[in-house]
């Protein structure tokens, strides 16, 4: 009878495609909106993720997220270096700088100052130029998306200059960088250079980047730093989580996006559930005839659930595919401001659960109608 159930489902192509696409669009709505939300949240932590080589971030204990910079003193660096279990520790500058271009335009930059000696935190993927050139005077490496935003339609080229804090900056490299929440261009430079590119302040060091002795657990070293220096110390993932938590709790993004995602779920559920429910209702007389001919209630339930499973799996697959395709397409088309789209593995899983829930609910409603159906209805 499984074959009969499938033929009932797929026999009318137009109706079948309608149901499948109902589920597919419901999936698309949920997965796409959720992916944009996760992408946005992920963008808030891009500069933490992009810093490789250092597993521990040390900061003022009042820092709430990565952009909430509260400068440290040079002494703090030496105190961190003195904590047993710290393999090494270096300076790191993170701030905003205002750049002025030849045509008189101004643009805010995210300025990252790397330790002069080690260049810890340097971009890993240099598209043009060389990381070694960062040691040249006035050198900066900027991210590709920022370059394309500043000079749209132009070929990538080295040697362009602009000013920050009345100091000349020369582009010696172009790199890939994760999209940022603020969407400003990113400029990497040496720490000593960075301090020249921003107005002078008494304390300029934003963070201390450190690495633990491999013999000790990272969390233990973080605990020691905290205990001995009074500074906050955490692993990169913990700092990223702190940042995301801040945005979730202190901004309107989750509420606003939550409403959008909720709407996606409601609209998607309504489309998918209604379509499938109507499909079963349209076949109610056929189910009645089958029951009269000796198909048991359990078998009928099995038939309806099989139809739901097929519709759910195919619709979900198409919907997730469309959502992923949307993300890929946007990334390929929009080069200047990469879209905040990130489909974490949890999104397909949660969406599958939601779509499954919708289909099961619609099936149960349909099945209920079929179960209470008197087979004698076929004689009326």
């Amino acid at each position: 009878m499984n074959w009969v159930a499938l033929r009932m489902l797929t026999g009318d192509r137009a109706k079948y495609i309608g149901i499948v696409f109902g589920v597919a669009f419901a999936t698309l709505l949920m997965a796409q909106q959720a992916s944009i939300f996760v992408g946005l949240m992920r963008n808030t932590t891009s500069q933490i993720r992009d810093v490789e080589g250092a597993g521990i971030w040390v900061m003022d204990p009042n820092v709430r997220f990565v952009d909430d910079v509260k400068p440290l003193s040079e002494n703090d660096l030496y105190r961190v270096r003195g904590v047993p279990g710290v393999a090494w520790a270096v300076r790191f500058y993170k701030g905003l700088a205002r750049a002025r271009f030849e045509d008189g335009n101004f643009q805010q930059f995210i300025l990252l100052g790397l330790d002069d000696a080690t260049l810890v935190g340097a971009p890993r993927d240099i598209v043009l130029g060389s990381l070694a050139d960062l040691r040249r005077p006035d050198a900066v490496i900027i991210d590709e998306a920022g370059y394309r935003y500043l000079w749209p339609g132009e070929e990538l080229a080295l040697g362009r200059t602009y000013e920050m804090n009345d100091r000349r900056a020369v582009i010696v490299g172009i790199c890939k960088a994760s999209p940022t929440f603020q969407t400003f261009p990113i400029a990497y430079t040496r720490y000593s250079q960075a301090t020249q590119f921003v107005p002078n302040e008494r304390k300029v060091m934003s963070f201390v980047l450190a690495e633990n002795d491999p013999a000790l657990p990272r969390d233990e070293v973080c605990r020691r730093i905290k205990e001995q220096t009074g500074l906050a110390a955490m692993s990169s993932p913990a700092f990223a989580q702190l940042t995301i938590d801040y945005y979730l709790k202190r901004t309107g993004i989750p509420i606003n996006f939550g409403i959008t995602i909720l709407l996606g779920f409601v609209v998607g559920s309504a489309i998918a559930g209604q379509t499938f429910y109507m499909f079963t209702l349209e076949n109610i007389r056929q189910f009645g005839a089958l029951k009269a001919m000796g198909v048991s209630n359990a078998r009928v339930v099995g038939m309806v659930l099989l139809q739901a499973l097929v519709v759910g799996v195919i619709g979900y697959g198409l919907g997730i595919g469309m959502a992923a395709g949307f993300g890929e397409l946007m990334a390929a088309v929009v080069k200047t401001v990469p879209p905040a789209f990130y489909m974490a593995w949890q999104i397909p899983v949660l969406t599958a659960g939601a779509v499954g829930g919708i289909i099961v609910l619609a099936s149960l409603m349909s099945v209920r109608r079929v179960l209470v159906l008197e087979p004698a209805v076929v004689f009326r």
């Binding site: 009878m1 074959w3 009969v4 033929r7 009932m8 797929t10 026999g11 009318d12 007389r285 056929q286 009645g288 005839a289 089958l290 029951k291 009269a292 001919m293 000796g294 198909v295 048991s296 008197e374 087979p375 004698a376 076929v378 004689f379 009326r380």
Partner: protein, 235 residues
């Protein structure tokens, strides 16, 4: 008449629908015997209880009072599960509205009772094609119901009702949706392919032009059997 000749035995069947002031008595103490090897017509005006009676005989409705024995089994004593299995094995149905599955071909529709019984699809559809040939629809085995006329659909429904060789065939107004000529042809077909020794055929109808096809005609009125007429037929 030996017990094996008796396919259906209804005793004092009463069926009520609703409660209180809304209560409707569809059957009022019906006693009826239906013999194997015969076509019994249940006739009477609309609302006289014909459909209720065959629904009870077919095990689709429970009587309020009374009992019904079909092919030697007391339906009231069968568990719901056994009743479903009993229907699947022993009873064939021809519905007024055909109730063919619209997305299945004629042959696939005919094969459905065999699939319900657990037969393999390929063999079931092959047998269905043979049966369609015997009802004159061999050429239309691959047609969808929507591509068939009303008469053709009813012939498919008859083939479907017979494919698992049931011992009781229940037909509800099989000529109601057909013109006079098609109705006559349908009854001829039913007599030819359905009426066999060991199988009882019950046809509900209010079409008096087909009364002549029955071996017995049971006249019903207001939930009661008014009279039973035996009809002599040439062998």
């Amino acid at each position: 008449m030996t017990p094996t000749d008796l396919a259906v035995h209804c005793r004092d069947l009463t069926k009520e629908f609703g409660d209180g002031a809304d209560k409707v008595q569809a059957l009022r103490g019906v006693d009826l015997e239906v013999r194997a090897g015969e076509m019994t017509l249940l006739v009477g005006p609309s609302g006289c209880g014909k459909t209720t009676l065959i629904s009870i005989i077919a095990g689709l409705l429970e009587p309020t009072r009374g009992s019904v024995s079909v092919l030697g089994s007391e339906l009231g004593k069968l568990s719901p599960r056994r009743l479903v299995a009993f229907r699947a094995k022993n009873i064939g149905f021809v519905f007024q509205q055909y109730n063919l599955l619209p997305t299945l071909t004629a042959a696939e529709n005919v094969a459905v009772p065999l699939l319900i019984a657990g037969a393999a699809r390929r063999g079931a559809v092959a047998k269905a094609r043979d049966l369609l040939t015997s009802v004159g629809l061999g050429e239309r085995a691959n047609s969808l119901p929507s591509q068939l006329s009303g008469g053709q659909q009813q012939r498919v429904a008859i083939a479907r009702a017979l494919i698992h060789e049931p011992r009781l065939l229940v037909c509800d107004e099989p000529t109601a949706a057909l013109d006079a000529h098609s109705g006559q042809m349908m009854m001829e077909l039913l007599r030819r392919v359905a009426v066999q020794p060991g199988r009882a055929v019950i046809v509900v109808t209010h079409d008096n032009r087909v009364f002549g096809f029955g071996d017995r005609v049971v006249y019903m009125s207001d939930g009661r059997v008014e009279k039973v007429e035996e009809q002599k037929r040439a062998a």
